[in-house]
Symmetry: D2
Subunit: 397 residues, 4 copies
């Protein structure tokens, strides 16, 4: 017998659950890409997209996943011989750095480990040491889904400013956009990378690079046609928006997702929802962790994302739990990613819960209830009162 037959919840840290409205918006035969409704829609949609990113700057939309958007961002401002400072707090900043290195960029990585956010003091020190300003860009993820750490973007910007370093500040918000508060312009971010499939609730297939005038001024000449953000952000004709054929169905989906954000009350309302739901998860994990080693991977709540939670369950139980909840209860949790250490080679001591995008109290409490059931079924020791504690957070109590 299985208890999984019903509406399943894919609680991996992306792609997130697709709203029915978004899927319906995409369920149309191909529209004209040369003129008419789609063309008008895209022009009207760009401001709404920028509003979610909290920027008055520019945006280039790519048919690509997040890795493609990373490459696009890097190629527009970095070239062979340039140097980038990568602030690694999990897995993804390092991957972005690897992509830069493939472009001939010299990459310096500061490693902050798997359980800590970026330490601005170290950033400041590294930039101070770069007295001849060889570093052209500082790369950082806002949220690393592998660790679920949330980096303090304003503090890093302050560190850059403290030494008056001219490097571009480039931030990956792929996991955080539309989940954790992010203020591109107010926080002094020059380049921001995002994608469609997490907080923006649209299937994977669109990458975004937002950038300001400083970044535009720093654009290099060696950028390839496809990644060149110039025509995409200021097209002379519609075809240039997407460097060729427009991603018709994804655009229709994204439009509907942005409508949903607007109807909810704008991105601030969406942030507030994610904040409360994340606190519910944290409360449950804290209860489970009483007297056992189970805990949030990131100890300090101030350093945790509202989009995803990486949980240490220990004893290799991550894999067993994931198998049980998917096979028996309709919940798919995220695998551990890059948490392998010498002491924990398989990474199966961890699991992750994606609570990003189209997710509400019912879904989150259901996920917590299912995890509780799974631990009971598998005889994994855990503290009591977890779902009740989460429910109190949901209740605002």
């Amino acid at each position: 017998m299985t208890l999984s037959q019903g509406r399943t919840y894919l609680a991996i840290p992306g792609p997130s659950v697709s709203p029915e409205r978004v899927l319906n918006a995409m369920h149309v035969s191909a529209p004209n890409i040369y003129e008419g409704a789609l063309v008008d829609m895209v022009h009207a949609m760009v401001p709404d997209l920028k509003a979610v990113a909290r920027t008055a700057g520019d945006v280039a939309i790519y048919i690509a996943n997040g890795h493609g958007a990373w490459e696009a961002a890097a190629m527009n401002v970095l070239g062979p011989g340039d140097k980038a400072l990568v602030l690694s707090t999990g897995r993804f900043a390092a991957l972005w750095g690897m992509i830069c290195a493939r472009l001939g960029v010299e990459v310096e990585v500061i490693e902050f480990g798997r359980q800590s956010p970026v330490d601005p003091a170290q950033v400041e020190a590294a930039l101070k040491a770069d007295s001849d300003h060889r570093i052209k860009a500082v790369l950082c993820v806002h949220v690393d889904t592998a660790t679920s750490v949330l980096n303090d973007i304003p503090a890093i910007r302050a560190a850059i400013n403290a030494v008056g370093h001219p490097a571009l500040f480039m931030v990956d918000c792929i996991a955080s956009l539309g989940c954790d508060r992010f203020e591109m312009d107010a926080w002094g971010v020059d380049v921001m990378v995002a994608a469609s499939q997490k907080g923006l609730m649209t299937p994977p297939g669109l990458g975004f690079v937002f950038f300001n005038d400083k970044a535009r001024a720093a654009s290099v000449r060696s950028v390839s046609y496809y990644w060149d953000w110039g025509p995409r952000s200021a097209p002379d004709f519609f075809y240039q928006f997407f460097g060729g054929t427009a991603p018709t169905h994804h655009l229709l989906g994204l439009r509907e997702a942005l409508n949903m954000i607007g109807e909810e009350g704008g991105v601030e309302a969406v942030w507030a929802r994610h904040d409360r739901l994340a606190h519910a998860v944290w409360a449950a994990v804290a209860a489970w962790g009483q007297d056992v080693e189970m805990a949030m991977n990131i100890a300090d709540p101030a350093d945790r994302s509202r989009a995803v939670s990486c949980v240490r369950i220990g004893n290799g139980n991550g894999l067993r739990l994931r198998r049980w909840v998917e096979g028996n209860a309709g919940l798919t949790l995220g695998i551990s990613l890059g948490m392998n250490t010498e002491a924990d080679p398989g990474g199966d001591d961890y699991f992750r819960i994606g609570h990003m995008g189209h997710v509400n109290a019912h879904m989150v409490l259901g996920a917590l209830g299912v995890i509780e059931a799974g631990m009971a079924a598998l005889d994994i020791p855990h503290g009591a009162g977890a779902v009740a504690a989460a429910a109190r957070v949901i209740a605002g109590r």
Copy 2:
């Protein structure tokens, strides 16, 4: 702020949650109704439908809701001057009786109240008293969604047999089919009424009347064209299946729903899932009810349905709770239905949870978590440990 934006769970006792697969199967332009794939499909589907009802008898499929199917069943075997014995255990058997009365049938109702199942002894007594066999049919619901009572169909059949009464035994399985175990042939049911929108996971719009040879032999001549089960159950040509134009899209949806039941392991696997999920709900309600008046409306688990749970929360809190969970958490609970009494005129002391059809452990535990949150938010006293208790049931512990 609302925490309801996400995939909502409509936990009313029907219509139940529509599976994506069923909706996709219905998302096709109209098919030919005269020949070809649809015609072949319907012929092949009828046996699968009978298998769910556990009968080797006949079935007539109506474009109608459950009330229409009631009328169809009644009109085929009852006419003006006939008498029907109605066993009332909530709201719906009485409504079926009312529909019979509109046809000129004399209706005798035995009322078992809102918290008890049919007492077979009373049925036996009533039939014994009907020594001239004026009663042509005994009408009963298997599950009454108003009270969530489950009636003991084999016991009622035994009562009928005990006095050797020839009346047809007609059972409404609208709420129970595909949720609570039901064995039409083995249990000696002559006529069974069902509909598409609950355990069969298809939008409202199809009603079913299953019947055996005894019922066919008892068919009256006065039946109207539309309700006549004769041509529908044994059509000479396809048009007669549906007494006119076929319900094309509903048929495609139903086919997919039956596929899903088959893939899960057949209706016995589906019953087992509902059984476990219902026990989880009951465990939660029992925990909530410690030291307060909250309780399952039906005291004895043996008398409870696996499709729906009617819960007494008291103090008019049913309405407040429903409003909160829908507005704040993405869960829609069922209203109280027909539970009004003198002491409780508004009926708002109750709410109902539908857990029928396309529902899994994640959805049910999420609903329980949300109810817990709602009671916390509204300061409704309740016992502790409810979701944990439910999770243990899910875990099989």
Copy 3:
């Protein structure tokens, strides 16, 4: 090799092609049927539905097909012993009469054959002969899809009025509503029957009965619960609208279909489109019929429907043509229906083209082109210039 792989056109006289918008509107998980958005929507939709019928009267919406709506209309005003006058011009008025007969109604049929509309003079004579006013209702189809005849409703009303007969005038607009001009109130129609799957572009599953005060006053007491138009047209609470569970998904589809009619410019714009498209079909058939026996079944254009065209191709070629166009070109034509005569026992001398609902110039000209190809492939003699003639009509030349 087949040339049919592509978007097929189901050109049978109902169900008509389902618009993508309608199907998308139906692709949602079940909504609440007790309160909220669906309830509000239905209340707001009823006036739009009446506007299409051109009536300020009432409407009852049934989960049923057209045959069910016939039975509903009949049962509300006719009972055993009543007499109905049926004006037969094909197949469907006679079937409606059969349904009345099943209710115990005495049915008098005037047969106008398969190629002529109702002759008002004969109606007048029949009513004049009914000096004691035993005839309670005159039943007529506006368009008979079997013959594609269009009856002159105002002329028949004038005939009834000419003799001052009090019978209700009941008209079946199942095939014509939203295709051929129809003015319920202005034309003095007392009861009008329609369904969802033709001009209203929604899958089969909803039947409608529109009626005026005179008809309401004539309501009989013997009507069954399900067919009773009283509560449905003036519900005290939402549940009564549909005599039980609402047809959730069909209602959402119908709402979208009515939106589409509104956006096109209202039903008059829709009529104008159908008028032009029908003239295009007629022009093609006229061209094909030069020097061969092929012809529109209805000779006089004034008597032809804009929803469907019954074409006599002769020599049993109807079946061959239908097979070819479906198997080779993606077009499904309607079968001959009830055109069998002694001289033509198989009915295969005819085929029908449905051009109702969601149909445009591209679809109609494509159908005509495919028929032309089929006749060429099958060596069926036909006149030249047919599609060009149709195109000129489309062009307004």
Copy 4:
């Protein structure tokens, strides 16, 4: 009044009409991208994709449009200082060359004009002149949608072979794959570029690069991470297939499209369908062009594509016609693209008909009928008998 309300036909040369089956396959909530059904499906799908391309070589799948696939193909084998020979027969080979130039590649273009295919003799001469083999690749489009020319790929390969030149032969089949016969391995093509939105009937968003061992051996080291075909074509783990997050919904759509191709009888059956449909279009244009200047842009049928037809209508009537057929009849034709000349600055002397992918006889004949109507409405002179001529081709006569 408009006659466009109905199912519209987007007859631009891509994106092509989306089949309902493909859209339904994409209408699912996000699947897991780490393990399970999607992962298994992709592995099983790759051979089917290669079968359509008629190759036993490798394929890399990119989240990108065709321009992205061009860039990918170029970057894997060409670097700064390399030289490419571009064979221009319209618009798209030159654009591919421009993308190469952006990568620092030296581009030599042989221009064959807007009405002629590649002349293999000129290719042979150019390669002969490259005695030191500086040319690393010969770039050519199979079908240029701007002109609708079809290039003779085997003849160009023969020209390369005639001089024993080692350059890679790289062919763009974006418009032709699944429409015009193409045999990658048999024809000696080393690299082939395609995309999802034309013959493959899936929304824009996927680009494909097929390549053989010779091309793999020629891979350069400077390729960027995202475009590197190495890991994508031989992934160690699933994530590498798509260089990051998988394009979940497009993959599901593509799977269904490949199913449809298989069910039709494989790509040879699909080619045969397109061949017949294209001949129908050509027959119509020939008839229209009697005594007026209207004509296919490509004079010799041997040089015409089966995917798209560029038609010279003259007198600036292309724009007027497109406006009329879209606004009045539900048909969207392709704009002229790059046909501007001194004598014809606006390009409005041309229009294009896309007849690629999910297209059948009904759709094509309907498009021709609508064009005929448009010319009639706009008083554009044209010869008679066009649709009839096309219908005869469809009929095989």
